[in-house]
């Protein structure tokens, strides 16, 4: 048995008074305590307390251990990389068809999750505890992507749910808004040591979310990581790939978490095995709507959703011109002469 409830604030006036928390937990198999209804003043301090209270009220059988290291991994649900993209020219900026198309986790985000889990595993070997939290912003189906991350080995998930028609492929949600939301998550989570992101998503190809987030958090950052090592003092040494070679950067431990974006050669993501897939169903995922999250953080919803850059046109690349097959060297020379390319 389980139950859940989801409460939205009715209007602006009741925002700061007697407003129930707008989190709810969605659980799949096990009976666990569900929603939390809190009456709290949503001042800056109380926001923190309500968030944390919600986590501590998860009521897991074993108490929350003192987490030694926390890694946050934002992941994105995109059109599967092997699918042929279809563009409807009549729909303008919304031309790319998303309906009934196979979607899966962004390949670079998979690499980020894999790296986070590897860091966690090496920490566990050293008898330290680590927690990997996967966070995603998108419609309801994003939950499946988060489950994949949990099946790979993440511990917990956070799903900022948007309405179904909000597009994540640069048309509606853009890196600025996403980075602001993620900054909010980092601050709420407290004690995040590392934020691992994919270097870019394969639909918008911006590559901006990581650097923007680092800017907002005033964090040290390293992009295009090909190797990540955690030092004993909590710093991260990153080898990054550039056009001219490999650069090694040390991100010192400080108040803000290190922000690292992952490149292709960092690792090969593991396959979720059956036992892990079963376990993942029981791992907790917090779901909060985009509107609520924005209000919590004091962000203007328009600021988050309205794109800073406007998509003017979307079209398919022109088809490649067919080549001509020739059967012998003589024919080739003949054709080249015809086209005036050889004497």
């Amino acid at each position: 048995f389980f139950f859940f409830s989801k409460i939205y604030p009715s209007d602006q006036d009741t925002l700061t008074h007697n407003r129930s928390a707008s989190f709810f937990l969605s659980l799949f198999d096990l009976p666990l305590t569900a929603s939390i209804a809190l009456n709290s003043n949503l001042t800056a301090d109380n926001r923190h307390s309500s968030y944390h209270q919600s986590i501590s009220n998860l009521g897991q059988p074993n108490d929350i251990k003192a987490i030694n290291m926390k890694i946050l991994v934002p992941i994105k649900r995109v059109i599967d990389y092997a699918i042929k993209i279809r563009v409807d020219p009549t729909k303008g900026a919304h031309g790319v068809q998303l309906n009934n198309v196979k979607m899966s986790m962004n390949p670079f985000c998979e690499i980020a999750i894999e790296e986070a889990i590897r860091i966690k595993e090496s920490a566990t070997k050293a008898k330290k505890d680590a927690e990997v939290v996967a966070v995603s912003i998108g419609p309801k189906q994003c939950g499946e992507t988060i489950r994949t991350a949990l099946a790979m080995g993440a511990d917990r998930g956070i799903h900022i749910e948007t309405k179904a028609d909000v597009r994540g492929d640069y048309v509606d949600l853009q890196p600025w808004g996403i980075a602001r939301l993620l900054k909010g998550v980092v601050e709420k989570e407290e004690n995040v040591d590392l934020v691992l992101l994919g270097k870019q998503s394969i639909d918008s190809d911006c590559g901006q979310t990581g650097p923007l987030l680092a800017g907002f958090l005033n964090s040290p950052q390293a992009t295009f990581a090909a190797k990540v090592t955690r030092e004993d003092d909590g710093a991260f040494t990153v080898e990054r790939e550039t056009d001219t070679g490999t650069e090694t950067i040390k991100l010192n431990h400080g108040r803000s978490p290190a922000v690292i974006t992952c490149d292709l050669r960092l690792n090969t993501p593991r396959y979720p095995t059956m036992p892990n897939i079963m376990k993942a169903k029981k791992k907790p995922v917090q779901i909060i709507s985009l509107e609520d999250m924005a209000k919590e953080l004091g962000l203007d919803l328009d600021d988050v959703l309205k794109p800073k850059n406007e998509v003017v046109e979307v079209y398919e690349p022109p088809p490649r011109k067919e080549g001509e097959m020739v059967g012998s060297v003589d024919e080739l020379i003949g054709k080249l002469r015809e086209k005036g390319l050889v004497a």
Partner: protein, 630 residues
């Protein structure tokens, strides 16, 4: 000339023939009329020889080359003292049941083809030398090698002429010429067969269809795809996928094999369970008979007119999915392995492209559990189940060691194969691996079905472990493992391949029986240390089709004929005792045709010979293959 009645011991008709066409009738009459006589005198032999020469020349008249020298003649040695000279002499000339009646191509044939074909510099590959006077040239034999040899490196032909016609008309003129001149011809597609059916036995002409590769039309309503027989299967897949259709045939060699060859061998493949055999999915065909006639079965004869296949022609294609008008002759050509005629165009019905595709790789530790998985798959996955493939532990070991791109990747991580082999439950040699694939039209529906299926299996401990694909890349990696079974084992040593149909419950029993018997036999024969033959089994579980591949000794590549016979006898005994089929999908070619007389009844076989005679009375199509004495 009708040689149908020309039989070895039929003196009356043979004399009739010679009377009609012999120049030296008078002299010959004298000899023939006394049908059986002892030879006393060498001069009589010489006379008869001369007469026979003349008859041959006149009846096979169009040879422009000088009469071949005596030792090339298909005549048997005429011996002094033999009771019946003329019988020996005549038997060799045209024996319908002997391959020896056909002749190899000569330089004059090449000249003829040069004059008749539209692009001779492309269409003719030969190493026959012109005489120095005519100022010609000869191509190197190197290019011919890839046509003469199959990819398993077992079958080697010695053809000296490869023809690559550019359209159906050229195929027709080539075949009619060969028929008139009694030249054997071997049609060849992608040359990826596993029974040597596409490589010549001796020096027949190889007819390669690779230049017939136009794709004509895919009807968006009926899904019927019309294309030439030389189209590579992968290209057809891509073409159909772009238009939201799926080709109902998928096999490991799809990057090289051609649809004409697939049809001529009735290829099975991964989707056999879901879509059925080519007998069901091929709706139309254009064939060229050995006498040069072009027949159209449910395919528009004018489709050639749209030469530029890139144009989107809106013409009705003339290929319907249902057509019950008369004997459906195309079914004879499906699986005939090029012995009845040449397939030049194909119309195949394609289902819609499924949007959602999922695959899972499951690990079981016993065959009973595998059967339970299959049962659960059919029940839980139902209509979206598209393939169940089985691989055993030995196979996966070889794929790990010899497979390309399926093992560790460059940055030290391990691909899927590595993860399978390092999983906690790995290590037991009785483990069996299943690749289960679903395809459907609704993502959520398929995902929830797959979820329910896997949960049921895991909670009942039917599977030890498993992997579920999360995106397309992982689906392709799982299939890559399955598709590299064949090449990996071929790289591990000399492999003896078998493709058999057995009752599904006894699938692994066959493998165990073969393994035990073979081990016992090998060890009883040699005094060396214990020999452990490696018996690999993989295959299409739901079809009951097992590919049994035996590597007697890892690392050695020499083929041992006696060992081959021994292994064959063991495997076929195991299969036939369970009333299975010795060739489930690979066909007969030249490797299994001799068994046909043991597994078919006399009357069935007789009917097959009669069919062959109807289409190809002179026996020029793919001689030595398919039927035992052709």
């Amino acid at each position: 000339i009708s040689y149908a009645c020309f039989r070895p011991v039929d003196m009356m008709t043979s004399s009739h023939v010679f009377r009609r066409y012999s120049q030296n009738t008078f002299r010959f009459k004298k000899i023939i009329n006394s049908s059986c006589f002892p030879i006393q005198n060498r001069s009589k032999i010489v006379e008869l020889r001369a007469a026979v020469f003349h008859c041959y020349e006149r009846s096979f008249g169009k040879i422009h080359a000088p009469v071949p020298s005596w030792h090339q003649w298909p005549l048997q040695q005429i011996q002094e003292g033999s009771p019946s000279l003329s019988i020996f002499a005549i038997r060799g000339i045209h024996n319908p049941s002997g391959k020896s009646s056909l002749r190899p191509p000569t330089i004059d044939d090449v000249q003829y083809f040069r004059s008749v074909l539209s692009r001779p510099e492309r269409s003719i590959l030969t190493n026959l030398m012109e005489t120095p006077d005519s100022g010609g040239y000869s191509e190197s034999g190197g290019e011919l090698q890839r046509y003469n040899q199959d990819w398993t490196n077992i079958y080697h032909g010695s053809s000296s002429l490869v023809l690559r016609p550019q359209n159906t008309g050229e195929v027709s003129s080539i075949l009619s010429y060969c028929r008139e001149n009694y030249i054997g011809i071997t049609p060849q597609g992608g040359n990826t067969g596993l029974c040597g059916g596409a490589t010549p036995i001796k020096n027949e002409i190889i007819l390669s269809l690779e230049d017939l590769n136009n794709i004509y039309h895919l009807d968006p309503c009926s899904g019927v795809l019309i294309c030439d027989a030389g189209c590579i299967l992968q290209n057809l897949h891509d073409y159909a996928n772009e238009r939201e259709f799926l080709l109902p045939l998928d096999i490991g060699s799809k990057g090289t094999c051609q649809i004409g060859g697939n049809i001529s061998t009735n290829a099975g493949g991964q989707y056999f369970f879901r879509f059925g055999s080519l007998h069901g999915t091929v709706v139309g065909m254009e064939v060229v008979l050995p006498n040069g006639e072009v027949l159209h079965f449910n395919i528009d004869s004018g489709i050639d007119a749209e030469i530029n296949a890139k144009q989107n022609n809106n013409n009705r294609s003339g290929s319907h999915r249902k057509d019950n008008t008369g004997y459906d002759l195309k079914h004879l050509f499906i699986g005939a392995e090029g012995t009845l005629g040449v397939v030049t165009k194909v119309a195949i019905a394609c289902p819609s492209l499924p949007i959602s595709r999922n695959s899972a790789l499951l690990i079981c530790n016993s065959y009973e559990k595998v059967l339970n998985v299959m049962k659960a798959a059919k029940e839980d996955l139902g209509e979206i189940l598209s393939a169940i493939e089985l691989m055993d532990w030995n196979t996966l070991q070889l794929v790990k060691t010899h497979g390309i791109n399926t093992s560790d990747d460059s940055n030290g991580g391990s691909g899927l194969l590595g993860e399978i082999l390092s999983a906690e439950t790995y290590g037991k040699s009785n483990q069996l691996y299943l690749l289960v694939e679903t395809q459907g039209s609704n993502l959520e529906h398929d995902n929830s079905k797959m979820d329910a299926f896997l949960t049921r299996l895991f909670e009942s401990s039917t599977i030890d472990n498993g992997f579920l694909s999360q995106d397309s890349k992982q689906i392709m990696e799982m299939w890559k493992i399955r598709e590299s079974c064949n090449p990996s084992v071929a790289r591990a040593g000399c492999v003896y391949k078998f493709d058999v149909s057995v009752p599904i419950e006894e699938y692994m029993d066959v493998a165990h029986e073969v393994n035990n018997k073979l081990k016992a036999e090998l060890n009883s024969r040699s005094e060396d240390d214990e020999i452990t033959p490696v018996v690999c089994v993989w295959g299409h579980l739901a079809d009951g089709n097992a590919h049994i591949n035996i590597v007697p000794k890892l690392g050695t590549f020499d083929k041992d004929k006696s060992l081959a016979k021994l292994i064959e006898s063991i495997v076929y005994a195991a299969v036939l005792s369970r009333k299975g089929s010795i060739s489930a999908e690979h066909g007969l070619g030249q490797s299994k045709n001799s068994y046909l007389s043991k597994i078919k009844t006399e009357s069935t076989l007789d009917m097959m010979y009669q069919v062959k005679k109807i289409f190809d009375p002179r026996g020029i199509m793919n001689p030595g293959k398919y039927l035992p004495r052709c």
